[in-house]
Amino acid sequence: MSVSEPAWPDQLFEVLLANDIRQVAYVPDAGHSRIIARANEHPGIKTTVLTTEEEGVALLAGAWLGGDRGVLLMQSSGVGNCINMFTLIENCRMPLVCLVTMRGEWGEFNPWQEPMGRATPDVLTRMNLQVHRADRPEDAAPMLDAAIAQSFDGFSASAVLLSQRLIGRKAFVAGG
């Protein structure tokens, strides 16, 4: 990693704390590594590593049934894995917040990431998630804050996309 760490990952984590998020479920991405590390260290947050992203949709539905707010972290390839499970959220009019790091769009070294990366906004929209896209680091935290408020107050689903340009090419090299 370069000498100066970006501020937005810590800002995102502070948004989770400020919104009383108690469960963080994830399939990792290098772009999520800081927020995952901080969630794992925090005594008030239960983290769950998933085998596939759709588990996280179901898991957070259960968490909310039990009174916990949660967020689901994934990369854009995981959005495709979630499609049918999103119907649980719509049928039950439950809140859901996904934080999605984008792949396949800016300096991507792996062309196999490109199809799902391109489809991600449309897939989310078709499944009735409200989509916010952060292209600038300073937008990430306010967008997540707004998405959490809107979803939990309005029993709706939303996704915040963190663009690959925002995350930076270097993170993929450093984080593997």
Partner: protein, 195 residues
């Protein structure tokens, strides 16, 4: 595989829930939902009508949110197989208060009784055990169902059990289908808050 007089699913589920105490129950779509409804509706039941493969994962999130109450995911072999990765997720998370019970008739019951992988020898209990759950031996008699019912309350899990059931088809007992209503009812019963 299941040739040693497998159990009647309705009888087994009714026995499992007879003295449920504080048990919170999540049911997998299809027959597991009908079986639990047939045993008696309860606001602390959350019935899935879709979301195939999600029953165990949903119950994990609930168990983590309510660590002081026992939580049961009860589903069929088809749903468990579709979400088989959830056993690894549960094994890693190690929630003491979660039990996963699979009613295994080795068939996709909703779609014409096609064979599932368990009919071909796939051992769900073995997978659960290897994933770190406390997996009981496959249950084939009502005494063992009674033992399982007691263990659901003990919160020494995560616990896993397969109940081998027969292939008889029962009349569908349909609980409410409105997911928004079901979730509001459940949250009111568990959290004391509406919605």
């Amino acid at each position: 595989m299941a040739d040693e007089m497998p159990l009647d699913r309705r009888e087994a589920v009714a026995r499992l829930l007879r003295e449920r105490g504080n048990l919170l129950v999540v049911t997998g779509l299809g027959s597991a939902t009908y079986d639990v409804a047939a045993a008696g509706d309860d606001p602390r039941n959350f019935y899935l009508w879709g979301a195939m493969g999600g029953t165990a994962a949903l119950a994990l999130g609930l168990a983590q949110a309510q660590p002081d109450r026992p939580v049961l995911a009860i589903t069929g072999d088809g749903d468990m197989l579709m979400g088989i990765g959830a056993l690894a997720t549960i094994g890693a998370a190690r929630p003491k208060n979660l039990s996963v019970v699979v009613l295994d008739n080795e068939r996709y019951g909703e779609t014409g009784a096609q064979l599932t992988a368990t009919a071909h020898g796939v051992d769900l209990s073995g997978i659960a055990r290897a994933s770190g759950l406390d997996a009981m031996d496959d249950i084939r008699d009502m005494n063992a169902v009674g033992t399982l019912a007691g263990r659901l309350q003990r919160m020494e899990g995560p616990l896993y059990a397969t109940i081998k059931i027969d292939r008889r088809e029962y009349p569908k007992v349909l609980p409410a289908r409105d997911g928004a209503w079901l979730r509001s009812r459940f949250r009111e019963a568990v959290l004391g808050t509406a919605p």
